[in-house]
Structures are given as structure tokens and as C-alpha cells.
Amino acid sequence: MDGLRAYGLIAGMWIRSSMAYRVSFAMTVVGNLLLSGLDFVAILLMFSRVDSLGGYSLPEVALLYGLSVTSFGLTDLAVNSLGQLGQRVRDGTLDTLLVRPAPVLAQAAADRFALRRVARLTQGALVLGYALLAVDVDWTPAKVLLVPVMLVSGAAIFGAVFVAGAAFQILVQDAAEVQSAFTYGGTTLLQYPPTVFGTELVRGVTFVVPLAFVNWLPATYVLGRPYPLDLPAWVAFTPPLAAAACCAVAGLAWRAGLRSYRSTGS
């Protein structure tokens, strides 16, 4: 609870500071919206030349895209700063966070909170809205329920990746890009149908880094399509469990990372 309060206070401070330059804020939101939309423009351009990709139609790909980008957008808005934690380790300013009477993770996550990142979330939600209207699905109560479950669990899974990545950056300060491969790379990967990728890669993101639980596994169930790996149907309903497991592992990694922190001493 302490952590949430600290997070709220710090994030609120950064929002007030960005609101001091309203025009600049509005411009960066529009810019972020365009930047975030480029991936989807690429998909639209692809579909201007083909009717299906990996056997999936445009609304179906849009559903995967919308789920991936919306859940990632939630996480990116909330904890993006964890991606640059290495910088604070390098210049020793992590010390400042350690001596404050608030949880370090909450402080690190709220650090430089940028409201402009709401753009990615908005863009993802727009595509998701289009997909839900356009996609051809026999909606059952279970399928309807799965949509919000996917978004929340997906955001939690991405959040765990951010936290684990931040812990890794305490060890290897210049590893920010490794983290990007899993966060930005992860959300890009999940925008496309699993049928597009090699089985090895699908296996990796199902069993090793369980990103497939963000949308692939539950969404293939919603769309009534087979998953490339032979898994029982009930797996589609396990994203909350996967998310809980990821968060537990990330929490352990964070503790281990923070314990191993050695200040630059400058």
C-alpha cells in the first residue's frame, strides 16, 4: 500500500511537470500516437497486397494486435522507466532512491512517469475496438470474459518482464537493449499470428518466456483456431496463473538484483 501511495505521488508530480508545457505535451502525444500506429500501418500495407497472413484475416490479426498493444500499452505507461534503470545504476543515482522511505520498485517505476505514453494504449485500444466489431466470432460468455482477462494478465506479464529486466540491468548496466528485445520485441511478435513463426520460437515464448499467454493462447481459442503446439483447450484460460507465476519470478529476481547492487560510490 505504501508503494502504491508513493507511486501515485511521484507519478502525479511528473504529470504536473509535463503539464507545464502544454503544447509540447500535446505534440508529443500526437507524435507517440503516430509512432505507435506505424506497426499497424505496416500490417495494413501488407493486407493491401494479400488477403491473409499465416491463414489469418485482417480483423483477426487486428485482434491479436489490439490485445498485444493495449496490454503492453498499460504496462508501458505504468512502468516504462524500469527500462532505463541501468542509467541510474551507472551514474549512481539509484542511491537516492534507496535512502528514501518508500519501496524502491515503486520509486523506480514511477520515475519520469510520462503521461504521453497513454498514446500507445489509446492506439492499441482503437485497433482492438475495430477488431472486436469486425471479427467473425461466435461470442460465448467465456469468450467475452476472456477479453478483459487477457488485457489485465497480459499487462501483468509484460510488467514482470520489465521488473526482471530492470533487475538484470542492476547487474549489467548497459543491457537496456536486451530488455527492449523482450518488451518491444515481445509486443511486436504477438501482433502477428503464431502460425507465422517457427515452432521453436513459439515453444520458446510459450514455455520459457511465457509471452504467448498475453494473447496467442487465449486469442486462438476465441478465434476458434488451432494453436501451433499441441496443448489442451483449458490452457486458454490460464493467463492469470501465468501472470501470477511471472510476477513471482520477477519479484524474486528484483530482490536478488537489488541485493547485489553496488553503488558507484561517486
Binding site: T28, L35, G54, Q173, D174, E177, A181
Partner: protein, 266 residues
């Protein structure tokens, strides 16, 4: 002769500065490889659906992806070279000292950026490219002459990239806050260079326009030269013409900026 030595020393400095961060380079190689993998599979699915899309076969599409990952950092396709540093110097007023130096501002940064380009080409570009060529089908030329013409067109692309980013950096004389321009640089760079999708796949008039813009010299042109899809001489002329135009525009903007410069923080 003395000035050649000076700019050579600046270029060596640029090279060595980036060579210092080995962990960051390794992390970048990892990320480029992961993104390459994701893109390769989506392109394979796309070309599976429409063989010979944009005049490429599957192997060429794959080579295009890995070339893109190899050149992304080296040619600063989405930004990320000297420009944010120069903008910061303009914002803080340190630029006044630079203007007093017995060296030309534009040539100084060009030399610095070419040094960075060479390091990132070798340090970050080669490994993902070789990985891609070994693991996936590829369309690499056998003739050493084609490789040679590729090695001519890439530096031209580097100068074009510099020309664009120099203009962006100088905008800080008027705007002071560079966030919006850097974002614009990223959007245009990613979209117009063909990082998201090869420009020859873009439909109709949109394709005609993006292929005529300078960004096509960053990826599309080197790719077409490497894979023998275009006449190297025509490619040289196109890239060199844009390089000259952009450098001249940079000169003009620089003289306009320095005539009216009011040093910040004075």
C-alpha cells in the same frame, strides 16, 4: 592537409567512443537479432502468400530484413547518433564555444558521425547479418564487384542520413526543445526508409513518393544494390544528389542560425 588530419582524428574519436561500451554493443546485437527473427517470419508468411511481391523472391525478402537490422544502428535510421548531443549543446548555449573552434561545425559532426557509423556497422551490423545469412535462405551476391558497389552505396547512405539529422539538430536553434523533432525523425526514418516494409511493396502513388525521398537511400537502395535489383550507378547518383542537397541545406540553415544566434544561458 592539416584539416584532413583534424577531421580524421574526430572520426576516430567517434569510432572509439562507441567502441568503449562493449556490453551495450552486445545487447544491441542481441536485440537486432531478435527483431530480425520476428520480421523474417512475418515476411516469409507475406511472401508465401504473394510470391515475387515487390519483385523480390523469398530469399531476397529475408536478406532485406537482415540488411535492415545491420544498417539500423549504423545509419541511425530511427535517429540516435550525434543529433541529440548537438541539440543539447544548442539548448544549453555550449554551441557558442563550438562556433569559436577553428573547425567547421558541419564537417566536425559529419566526421564524428561517420566514425560512429563505421563502428556500429562492424560492431552491431555484421553479426546479425551473418546469423541471418547462415540460418535462413539468403540472396547474397557471388560477384565481388556487387559487394564493392554495395560498399560504395552504404557510405553515401550514411551521408544522406547525416544530412537529414543535421537539419533536425539545427532546428533546436529555433525550437530549443528537441523532443518533437526527434520523434518526427524517428517516424519518418522508420516508415520512409523501408524498415517496416520494403518500399517496393508500398502500393501505387505512395510507393512512388517514398522511393523518391532521401530515406530510400538508407535501406532500400543498399538492399537493391546488394541483391542486383538496381543499377549501381543510378543508385550512386540518387544518393549522392540527396547528400549534396541535404548538406547544402544544412549549410544554409547553419548560416541562418548562427547569424541570429542568441546564446542561451549567457
Amino acid at each position: 592537409m592539416g584539416s584532413v588530419r583534424l577531421y580524421a582524428a574526430v572520426a576516430v574519436g567517434g569510432f572509439r567512443r562507441y567502441a568503449t561500451y562493449r556490453a551495450a554493443t552486445a545487447a544491441g546485437v542481441f536485440t537486432n537479432t531478435v527483431f530480425g527473427l520476428i520480421l523474417v517470419y512475418t515476411y516469409l508468411a507475406l511472401w508465401d502468400e504473394r510470391p515475387h511481391l515487390g519483385g523480390y523472391d523469398q530469399a531476397q525478402a529475408v536478406t532485406y530484413v537482415w540488411l535492415g537490422q545491420a544498417l539500423l544502428a549504423a545509419l541511425a535510421i530511427q535517429g540516435g547518433g550525434f543529433e541529440s548531443e548537438l541539440m543539447e549543446r544548442i539548448r544549453t548555449g555550449e554551441i557558442a564555444i563550438d562556433l569559436y573552434r577553428p573547425a567547421d561545425l558541419q564537417l566536425w559532426w559529419l566526421a564524428n558521425d561517420l566514425g560512429r557509423t563505421l563502428f556500429q556497422l562492424l560492431g552491431r551490423g555484421v553479426i546479425p547479418f551473418v546469423f541471418g545469412a547462415l540460418v535462413f535462405p539468403s540472396a547474397l551476391p557471388r560477384s565481388p564487384l556487387t559487394w564493392l558497389s554495395f560498399l560504395v552505396v552504404v557510405p553515401l547512405g550514411a551521408v544522406v542520413s547525416f544530412g537529414i539529422r543535421y537539419l533536425v539538430a539545427l532546428s533546436a536553434f529555433w525550437l530549443l526543445d528537441g523532443k518533437g523533432m526527434l520523434q518526427l525523425l524517428m517516424i519518418t526514418g522508420v516508415f520512409c526508409s523501408g524498415m517496416t516494409l520494403p518500399l517496393n511493396v508500398f502500393p501505387g502513388a505512395l510507393g512512388e513518393v517514398v522511393r523518391a525521398l532521401p530515406w530510400s537511400a538508407l535501406l532500400q537502395l543498399p538492399a537493391d544494390v546488394l541483391m542486383g535489383e538496381t543499377d549501381p550507378l543510378g543508385a550512386y547518383v540518387f544518393a549522392a544528389a540527396w547528400a549534396v542537397v541535404l548538406l547544402a541545406a544544412g549549410r544554409l540553415l547553419q548560416s541562418a542560425a548562427t547569424r541570429r544566434v542568441v546564446v542561451q544561458g549567457g
